[in-house]
């Protein structure tokens, strides 16, 4: 039993779940029982996939040892490309992939510049944050394009499904992608390479891993997921605003770190990133329900974020100090 607890708590993503449950209880009380009500959960779950998809990509990339600050802009750019095409009468079947291809292209550029010139991805993607946002504004002319009502098969992405209409379709997409990426990271040789590349680049190279290609692919996956997430959001909101996703980059990194991903690479899990994203959304939601005044809102948000990581670190430390032979 102790052994079980130890193993369990040593995994940062699972320690995160403990904090999540604690938080849910507090919010449940503070919101007079609304927090865990069906409608509120439905609300949380409806929005979650968009942020969590971005967090998955960023987590993967961070495990690979790189950063992506441009996800927020790609989140806006990909659906904008789609939206502008749709508004021009291009059918969805072409416009949708065009948006995603744009996202892929951004990832490719990020990756190639970073790897080819050996510069920090922090700068490459910070630059790309501006460039992609600018492109979004340019192609839209500054105004959200008016998409014909039935141009998008919105049902495929945002319809409610499941018992009590608990989930949106987007949640299923998210689940499928999460499982896929998580498996790719933990079970395939590609995942092994990602971890090695981020864990210790010289060793990964010495062992013959094509680290440049691994990094570029991770950049592309990260961008693609951000673009896809943005597209889902636009389907849900109905119009591609040029301003969506601003500030998302820091949130996504925060989600990854809360979930135990190391900023230096090599360490982390997809599940952790997702739990981080859930925590961020839950904190946000719970604070609104707790009627925190506007001026104090960010204070509560900031403190709880820090607290989440402190509790995580503390649980893990306690677990490690348990004197049980595990292997």
């Amino acid at each position: 039993m102790r052994r079980f607890i130890k193993i369990y708590m040593e995994r940062p993503e699972l320690a995160g779940i403990a904090f999540l449950i604690l938080l849910a209880l507090v919010f449940q009380v503070r919101s007079d029982g609304v927090f865990l009500g069906a409608q509120n959960l439905q609300g949380i779950l409806g929005l979650l996939p968009e942020m969590a998809l971005v967090a998955i990509g960023v987590t993967l990339l961070m495990i690979c040892g790189e950063f992506d600050l441009s996800v927020g802009s790609v989140f806006a750019l990909a659906p904008m490309v789609m939206g502008v095409l749709l508004a021009d009468g291009v059918p969805f079947i072409l416009a949708f992939p065009a948006g995603l291809l744009t996202a892929l292209a951004v990832g490719l550029v990020n990756g190639v510049i970073t790897v080819r010139f050996a510069i920090p991805s922090f700068i490459t993607t910070l630059g790309m944050l501006f460039v992609a946002r600018s492109l979004t504004v340019v192609i839209s002319g500054g105004f959200p394009p008016v998409i014909p009502p039935d141009a998008m098969p919105r049902q495929l992405f945002i319809a409610f499904v499941g018992p009590g209409d608990m989930f949106r379709m987007s949640f299923l997409w998210f689940l499928a992608i999460a499982v896929l990426v998580a498996l790719a990271l933990s079970r395939t040789n590609f995942g092994n390479w990602v971890r090695a590349t981020g864990g210790f680049l010289p060793a990964a190279q010495a062992m013959g891993i094509p680290t440049a290609r691994v990094k570029i692919v991770c950049f592309m996956i990260c961008s693609l997921l951000a673009g896809f997430a943005g597209t889902i959001q636009v389907m849900r909101l109905g119009a591609p605003l040029p301003s969506i996703g601003e500030g998302l980059e820091l949130q996504a990194v925060a989600a990854a770190v809360i979930g135990g991903t190391a900023l230096t690479g090599g360490i982390g899990t997809i599940l952790g990133g997702i739990i981080g994203a859930v925590l961020i959304r839950v904190i946000d939601n719970g604070l609104v329900l707790s009627r925190v005044d506007a001026n104090w809102f960010k204070l509560a948000l900031g403190s709880l974020t820090i607290l989440a990581v402190i509790v995580n670190a503390w649980l893990r430390k306690k677990a490690r100090a348990m004197k049980v032979e595990t292997d």
């Binding site: 946002r133 500054g142 506007a294």
Partner: protein, 304 residues
Amino acid sequence: QDEPMDIVFTHHSSASNPFWQAVKKGFDDACEKIGADCQMIFTQTEGAIDQQAANMITALAAGPDALITSIVDNTAFDQVIEQAVDQGVVVIAANVDDTEGAQGNARAAFVGQGFVPAGYALARKMSEFFPEEGPINAVVGISAPGQNWSEQRGQGVVNFLEEYKEQNPDREVEITRLDTGTDGAVVAERVGSYLNANPDTTAYFDTGLWHAYVAQVLADRGVEPGEVLMGGFDIVSEVLNQMEAGYIQVQVDQQPYMQGFIPVMQAYLAHNFDLAPADVDTGQGLVLQEDVPALKELAAEGLR
């Protein structure tokens, strides 16, 4: 005069804000009409007054003929504008003015409508939709706490509600301020959850246009239009759609196109004929459901 006029427009918003894109359109169109060399300078983050001030300083170094700017703070721009006036630049305030008007700042004239009065007007109009009796629970969504445009609009709304409370001592009026953010999805989620937890809410005021996305959440949940009154600022297609659907009752429209267009004309007259620029009120601009059809086309063109 052969030399084309050189006009610069600085303000406190970023390029991804559709409202300011409409101002830009008016500005660019006007410039084309008078054949002027024009430049609008956005900030990189929304509401960055420090960046705006920096941009003004830079723009002035190039010696423009006219400077159009929003004056979102009573003191921050005083020095720069005074310097510009000393340089002989025509300075016109657009969109927002010093709250002390001409006393507070050296600018020649103001085209637009103040934040506080706009908020006040919004709330006053909205009060006409309030239920006959029972308590009033109003929620004011401060999109960006600490940022002038948002705080002042919110303040205007709160000011009216406080007055309303005094005038109706028999009614319970409660005002809640929420930090709602400036991302449509987040606003929708936050306010949506709040309304869900507090179904007795009477009205939701947004200091931007993000209540349109809240409306969508309500529609999703099967909440009837009008159960929660909603109002906010600026016209975009999404807002008009939701007004048509009945979820949004009142919207403030400052006629952004006009705010971009008129100052150029005034600057032109001032520069070429020494005609003194005059204040122009771009309208109380309160849009109700019945105005929507007329506006839809204009909105799509970026004119309203």
